[in-house]
Amino acid sequence: MTLTDLSNVRATVDKANGLPNAHYIDPTVFEEEKHALLFSQWAGLAVAADVPEPGDAVPLTFLGMPLLLLRDKDGTVRVFQNICRHRGMILVDSPRKIEGAIRCPYHSWCYSTKGELVSTPHVGGPGQNTHAAIRRSELGLNEVRAHVWRDVVWINLSGDAPNFEIAMSHIIERWREFDLPLHHGGHGSRFTLEVQTNWKLAVENYCESYHLPWVHPGLNSYSRLEDHYHIEEPEAYSGQGTMVYRQLTNEDGDTFVDFDGVSAKWNEQAEYIAAYPNVLLGVHRDHSFAIILEPKGPGATVEHVHLYYAQPDIDEGLKARNTQLWKGVFEEDILVVEGMQKGRHATQFDGGRFSPVMDSPTHCFHSWVAGKVEAQRSLARAVE
């Protein structure tokens, strides 16, 4: 059964309609998109800074699936399904340090931080810890494909996406200059926003500059609409750039230290890109940020925001000021993303029409969504 008509979404921007309402409010379409847009792609899950030390483990739920983010004893960030291979029991129920092995709280099967099954107590009877039928080498934790880039932990739950470097090659190449060590600003440089909106509306709002003078009037004094440009890589990402980035200063005129070796092109240029599906990234000469959109349901999203700097020992006051600045900007966006979500319950809304000049980054995203959903529907029809 075809849930929605997407035939006009992939038309050219001057003729296209946006995605139908159901893509924002219908639980069945949400479930369909979960697989087409999130499980089958490289989706953002968390940041590596969430598990800074070997043994650090954080249980997470991503679209209903229990996962375990863990830094193994050798420092590699891994993601596992957070369940024991024995009875499917949740292994870790709160963030903690794994000192040695992960012990299932049910029957005490134990796993190394690399996911290997290392102990199966009493599996062959009391005091008999082996059995021919239980091959430990085949019963390690279910590991999820994961890749860390720009400190974001990206996961491919379906396991069949192209390698991350290939899937994300365009944006990796575009920002090659910024492929430098990132230092998370610490506790004060992370915050979350719980927003009553579909995650796609957060993407759509982020990647266009059309709304800036209206929603963020504070930018008008120095960052006018004409100072921005569109960024579009069909099937991969879209966003916006500015040509008038101004460094933040404190009362003494101090600024953040620049990323080492970044060219003069970036002195006043900055870019904001939505890396499909759910990661919003920003780069500047002296700091960057990552926003991971956690879809909680058709009309609910948690935005996890993290700020990064070129060096670990950045002035706390300046960092706090920067956090406040960005938090203010992102909070200003809540009005519109929640308003658009409410608007999706208006039955006569046809997905809307785009400004052919100003909305092409949003249309680029809609086109990607429609393409992925249609591809999945074609596949489903083929196997029927």
Binding site: E99, G100, A101, I102, R103, S108, C110, V118, S119, P121, H122, P126, G127, Q128, N129, T130, R136
Partner: protein, 71 residues
Amino acid sequence: MTGDLHARMLAAHQGPDPTALITLYTEAANGANSLDASCFFLTHAYVFALEAGAPQASQLHWRLMQNGREE
């Protein structure tokens, strides 16, 4: 197992106190009156040592291996 050891084990579980659990289950294994009972307690000591990353884990593993109870 003596009542005192049992009480100390329960207290260690209550904590939980991993170091005490390793010690007490090893003590129970050493005092057990059959190989099966000994390996039962050794298994617990070993699992708690594995979980804690305690150095006793290798020795406990070796003892279980010697009795054909581990791989």
